[in-house]
């Protein structure tokens, strides 16, 4: 590739990033808009009032709280279950590992629409009442594989001589795990947990099928689009975005400085 082609691709990459970010910028900007009517669609002046009144709409705030509770529960449950799978797959070769891998692959690549509708079929035929519990069950189902993959990737690279050293020094298997292995794989578990949290709080399709009349943040937005979205939605969206980006940047910097120390 010659110099001009490379420069052209560089510019193109930035154009595409700009395109990706455009609707996010619009969302953030219109959280500062001061619309006169019901529709927050045209720019009418700058205000901070929606940040002050961000929790003024009770139903919207309830939906956000539901989203947060479900996301925390999902992160904890999927974090624990996914760590178990990821550790076992990375550490041992055992019968059934291939089948489990295929099951995880199927759960990752199946259409959300089909997973959501089949779960609804299950809940309906069991006569289960839909709500925060069924949403959480669904979210753990689709995020557990992601946690497992992240943890497995770290466990595979573990230096087995560490375990042998611990055993030579008289540590039991249990002690070795908690004192040696666990601290090493903890960062991977944490990023798996955060991934599960992020997947859960953003999910729309599967939640749509398993929520019944319960509303999460994305479901509330979906229901309110026809009557016009209040600027509070933009403010909450901005807050979730900012928290996510901040967390990703901070954990990235931390892991980089740790690598430097290790080197």
């Amino acid at each position: 590739m010659n110099g001009r082609g490379v420069r052209l691709m560089h510019v193109y990459t930035w154009v595409l990033i700009g395109w990706l970010i455009l609707p996010i910028t619009v969302m953030i900007l219109f959280g500062f808009n001061n619309p006169s009517g019901r529709y927050n669609q045209t720019w009418q002046g700058f205000t901070f009032k929606w940040y002050k009144d961000v929790f003024a709409l009770e139903a919207l705030t309830d939906a956000l709280v539901t989203s947060l509770v479900v996301a925390v529960l999902t992160a904890l449950i999927a974090g624990a279950l996914g760590t178990g799978i990821g550790y076992a797959l990375g550490r041992w070769q055992f019968k059934g590992a291939g089948a489990l891998n295929l099951l995880m692959f199927a759960a990752i690549s199946s259409p959300e629409l089909v997973m959501g509708s089949s779960l609804l079929s299950l809940f309906v035929s069991m006569g289960a009442s839909l709500g925060a519990v069924t949403i959480t069950i669904a979210h753990v189902m689709f995020s557990v594989s992601f946690v497992a993959i992240v943890v497995r990737a770290r466990v595979v690279t573990l230096d087995r001589s560490l375990e042998e050293a611990a055993a030579d020094l008289g540590a039991t298997g249990w002690t070795t795990f908690w004192k040696v292995i666990f601290p090493i794989i903890l960062p991977a578990i944490m990023s798996g947990v955060m991934l599960a949290f992020a997947l859960s709080i953003d999910d729309f399709v599967i939640t749509n099928f398993t929520a019944g009349t319960t509303e999460t943040f994305p479901l509330w937005i979906w229901g309110a689009t026809r009557v016009g979205l209040p600027p509070q939605v933009n403010v909450m969206g901005t807050m979730i975005f900012a928290a996510g980006v901040l967390f990703a940047v901070v954990s990235n910097i931390r892991s980089r400085s740790k690598k430097k120390v290790a080197a």
């Binding site: 970010i21 089949s118 497992a148």
Partner: protein
Amino acid sequence: MDRVKRTLAPYLLVLPGGLWLLVFFAVPMVTMLSLSLQEGDIVNGFVFTGHWHNYTESLADYQTQLIRSLVYGAVTSIVLIVLAFPVAYWIAFYGGKKKATYLFLIMLPFFVSFVLRTISWRMLLTDDGVLLHPLKSAGILPDDFQVLGSASAVIFGLVYSFLPFMVLPIYVALERIDPRVVEAARDLYASPMTSFRKVIFPLALPGVFAGVLMTFVPASSDYVNSELLGSSETTMIGQVIQAKFLSNSDYPSASALSFTLMAVLLIGVFSYARALGTEDVMKVAAR
């Protein structure tokens, strides 16, 4: 005793998560299959008949929407290959120390809810919105020009929604290429074009296939973009299934449609897995 414990250990660790996947992913598929072979309504209950007529009837009624969805999905994936390849290529070979930063920027949309992003586009593309209004007042576009409601608007939204899922797998494939292989091609007097065509592109193909899998499946089963950016002319099968399940409670025929969609998509998914393995997709999924 210790030995027994050791051979049991992986199974004990895998058990809770594996069961969760089995009960809430695999079993529901069976329930849905059984539901699709039932008859009745929500008030009087459903009875298993084992007849396939839910399939034949709902396919006869909604084949337009099903085919349209597959076409939209295919167009989305093709457009995405063209859009994403140069970006993945540039980041992989010229991103230098900033590779991670560029990939992070490509993934930024994931920090905003999918529905909210699509609503933002609807606002931007609306008839008198920030994008179209200036062009109309300048006389560049006719006054009655519309984007929303068209097939292009829906595909535009789908392309936007799933772009990162095409960039990442292609990037992963390109990143794996040993630069010495490319140098060797140049040493043997291959022109830049030839070395791209004969060396780089074939090595990137597994990434392209992974990208197609990761975009075609969600795009052709999506109902958010066509609902928010489309019209009755662009109704996709996802909208039909969603409405049948959630508004009409017509579970048997909704299940039949959902199962058909999955069967069509699964053929693609599993032929991919057989040919190229599951590692690439899993790796990208966990980023």
